[in-house]
Symmetry: none
Subunit: 182 residues, 2 copies
């Protein structure tokens, strides 16, 4: 899906709602109603913001926010912070979306290669509004119990080209590492 917009262009579709025509009360922008809830972007505002985003703008500077806001104010009420938040949210959600896809598909598809027929497709949905990865490992981090104090030197040139993937075949490492040395 286009990263650019997720669900923004859905806003007020049918009737050009912008107040331009007259206060008709149109509806959306919160103009007529006097209702001072949260900012409710106009279709045009969203379009511009989206275009900016798609053009690569991710985190506008103060100046930019200022200008964008000013420009968008033509279409309806808007404040700088709205622009700021919009970019923050849009960026974050775009990212989130991408991430989710990776989890759902990528991962699944990945192994799909060898696991041909299966019910993977279905599983894709189950992760709806939940967090993709929720493995609550309580495992701690580092051993250190031993002694520590690393050797100052040793360039470590680790080189070990062995293609195994067996993973040391231990029974089950409890993972009881602790970062005492920190």
């Amino acid at each position: 899906m286009d990263d650019g917009m997720s669900g923004f262009y859905i806003k007020a579709a049918g009737h050009h709602v912008n107040n331009g025509g007259g206060t008709g009360g149109g509806g959306n922008n919160g103009n007529s109603g006097t209702k001072c809830g949260r900012w409710n972007p106009t279709t045009e505002q969203v379009k511009v913001l989206t275009d900016l985003f798609r053009s690569g703008l991710r985190t506008p500077s103060t100046d930019q926010i200022q200008k964008i806001s000013t420009q968008l104010s033509f279409y309806g009420k808007i404040e700088s912070k709205n622009v700021f938040y919009w970019f923050q949210n849009h960026k974050a959600r775009e990212r989130q979306k991408r991430r989710k896809v990776s989890v759902d598909e990528k991962d699944v598809l990945r192994r799909l290669g060898k696991i041909s027929s299966k019910t993977h497709f279905l599983e894709v949905n189950h992760v709806s509004s939940d967090e993709p990865e929720r493995v609550i490992e309580t495992l701690q981090l580092f051993p250190l119990n031993s002694f520590e104090e690393q050797e100052p030197a040793e360039k470590l040139r680790m080189h070990a080209n062995d293609c195994r993937e067996t993973a040391t075949t231990f029974s089950h490492p409890p993972l009881d590492l602790r970062l005492s040395f920190l």
Copy 2:
């Protein structure tokens, strides 16, 4: 742009991805194909590494690398150098990210609070307000030409509960922004 975030924690996530399901080599390690390409960390591995990092570990000593590697080998193929590189890269990218952010968003929030709306804008294009969805605006993104000096700073917790909705009532915003800074 970076969007990729750190990229680490994206790997395989959802459900226990570890080889459990399939052939020993199964799926995660990316080695399903016998291909000895680059290391492909498992979700668990990444988690542990990340936790270590978050716990303050930035440059593990040889011993530490060794231990970490051993522990992580349970989850899948891994070599010491992978651990080493991971920390190296993670640290670097984290920094990089931060640096970039500084340039971009640094002051955004900072001064956001005081930005109201005003300034100038020129008239260039006009967008027919008739068709919300059909307008093929050629408008570009950001100006930058101007100047705008940034005020030193201030916390400003943007709060501006003014219920206006008038929208600056300007005549017609040309929208002539350009993203030169990109």
